[in-house]
Symmetry: C2
Subunit: 327 residues, 2 copies
DNA sequence: CTTCAGTGTGTAACCGGTTACATATAATAT
DNA sequence: ATATTATATGTAACCGGTTACACACTGAAG
């Protein structure tokens, strides 16, 4: 392995000059620069990032902390983070937290020892001290941590309004809202949007709390449909729940979309694979991940960040679980 | 930050003794050991992994190279790798290669500079030199790289036999096999299994090559169904293709499973969300990832590995896209 | 002709560990 | 009693970089 010393010798300068040249810091004369360039080229020198880290107490590692990569929402996020990180020369460490604060804290501690550059975090531990006091750049994704930490999120409330209206415009008069867990910020925002859209309307509605879990959602919807067969529209706070609802409709012989219309929220790929295809409020998950990563890198590189809250617009994707709108 | 020197001073010994004690290498007297333990405790000393890496040219980083985390097959794998890695004190770096050899090579080079401990690789670049000559522990997942590199894989061939028989036992007489891309080892094994199971049978069959892609699969199946309406069974080499087939059946008004039965391969979570639920040959993806990681870590820690090929059994999961078996 | 800021470069300390080597003592073998 | 081995520890070099500091030179300002 060739080191900076080899380069220095070959170029006939000191290691300090080579280092300065490589880091574009301090003064380096034109001749020295040329000699170093040539030596680097000839020896195929590549800087040792570990040695650098030890000095600078910095690295190009980014930690991505998420509850569970297995949840269909996250892979796309991870993909975006990795893509953007790569173009900026950063490397992504994957951390499944299972929403467990101990695990999160552990990751943070472990990676800080490696001089991790920063974290992108998706967590429900809203105001956990290990984030607030982490003393390392952080960007929160999809869920607010605290005011000092930049957040990127979907426009959940507006999305919920859009989704609700989609159902109403298509003739639903008795809507079941599948509300996500109260600990989740986005779930609350979606709930607010739903309420805002439906409240001054003559439509009936009911709200049921429902985890973002397929089988549970299915069960909950089956019961709701049994209790009130006149439900003609379901707005689920997540696509997984919507899939559960669709399955419930299928097992109970409710025809979708003729007897029952369903709208999901998320826009995961699975939605189009269902039959009928799932109408949903699609988040631009990739974009969220990409923005989060760029904002994080700006923070890391001490560049000014213009805002501390980024809201990514959401889009209604009409597929087969809703009818064409009545004029 | 407290360093090994602080500990040495506090314990009244030299840094060498502290290091030896911490690494359990060389001799350390009982008194010294006690003093060091106390000092570590009192100062809350934690070893700096970067400094250690610089010396030892080792790290506890594991690279996970996969085509695209967005592909529903991989998140579960990643999850398993991360889980196991964590219990052994390793950290996982996520690498989306897009099957691009340049990107793969790049990751390997970049991470080797960080003294990465090893790689888990899922790649189609079967005999790529950057793997064969990587000079770092590697375990291949799901796809064979070369003979020297341990591989863990599903029992694809046997699984395909099971899937085919499931269709035949349930009365299919004209089976369409959706064959995966020829570059993929598992696709070939599944094809072999299908052929073996169907060949000495009086059932008709046809084989169509079909990428592991939903919309493409749907289109291909729609055409096949149009060309030959007597097809009464489809065995897809992947669940995503099976989902496409199911969708095709739905758009063409073929009732599943009465007129057409479908079996997939993979066992991804999406399968149960479809209506009807997808009958599939399920791989134990988590187990594959877990085994791969353990084998890799054994390699890293220079422990003997008993075999170089691990085959994880596959399981037939019967759901709604197949009928109950005729007696 | 000083003085001083800007430019260019090298020496050596330092980041926080590991480890080869030297040295010393106690235990065992011959 | 002496040689040999196992145990125990410290000193200092080293891993491969960064950077504070000292020093030298140049050109412009006063």
């Amino acid at each position: 392995m060739t080191t900076i010393k080899d380069v220095a010798k070959k170029a006939g300068v000191s290691v300090a000059t080579v280092s300065r040249f490589l880091n574009d810091s301090g003064y380096v004369g034109a001749e020295a620069a040329k000699a170093v360039t040539a030596a680097v080229e000839e020896l195929k020198y590549e800087l040792n990032p570990v040695a650098r880290s030890l000095n600078t107490k910095k690295s190009n590692l980014i930690g991505l902390i998420l509850p569970d990569i297995t949840n269909p929402f996250f892979p796309e996020l991870a993909r975006a983070v990795e893509d953007v990180a790569l173009t900026y020369g950063y490397t992504v460490v994957l951390c499944n937290s299972d929403e467990n604060p101990e695990k999160e804290k552990n990751y943070i501690e472990t990676l800080k020892k490696k001089y991790i550059a920063g974290f992108i975090v998706t967590s429900n531990q809203l105001d956990a001290p290990h984030y607030a006091n982490a003393n390392v750049p952080i960007v929160a994704l999809d869920r607010t941590i605290n005011e000092k930490i930049p957040t990127v999120s979907s426009n959940n409330k507006e999305g919920a309004v859009m989704g609700t209206n989609a159902l109403l415009e298509r003739g639903c008069r008795n809507v079941l809202f599948l509300r996500g867990p109260a600990e989740l910020n986005p779930a609350n925002d979606r709930y607010d949007g739903f309420m805002e859209a439906i409240q001054n309307t003559d439509a009936h509605y009911q709200v049921v709390t429902c985890p973002f879990h397929f089988a549970d959602s299915q069960k909950i919807v089956e019961r709701a449909l049994k209790d009130d067969p006149s439900i003609d529209g379901i707005f689920a706070s997540s696509d997984v729940s919507a899939a559960g609802a669709l399955k419930a409709a299928s097992t109970m012989g409710k025809h979708v979309p003729d007897e029952l219309q369903i709208v999901g929220f998320d826009g995961v790929a699975m939605g189009e694979m269902l039959s009928p295809g799932l109408t949903t409020v699609a988040q631009d998950v990739y974009k969220m991940g990409a923005i989060a990563t760029r904002v994080l890198i700006k923070q890391i590189e001490n560049k000014k960040i213009d805002q501390s809250f980024y809201e990514v617009p959401v889009k209604l994707v009409i597929r087969g679980t809703t009818r064409s709108v009545a004029e």
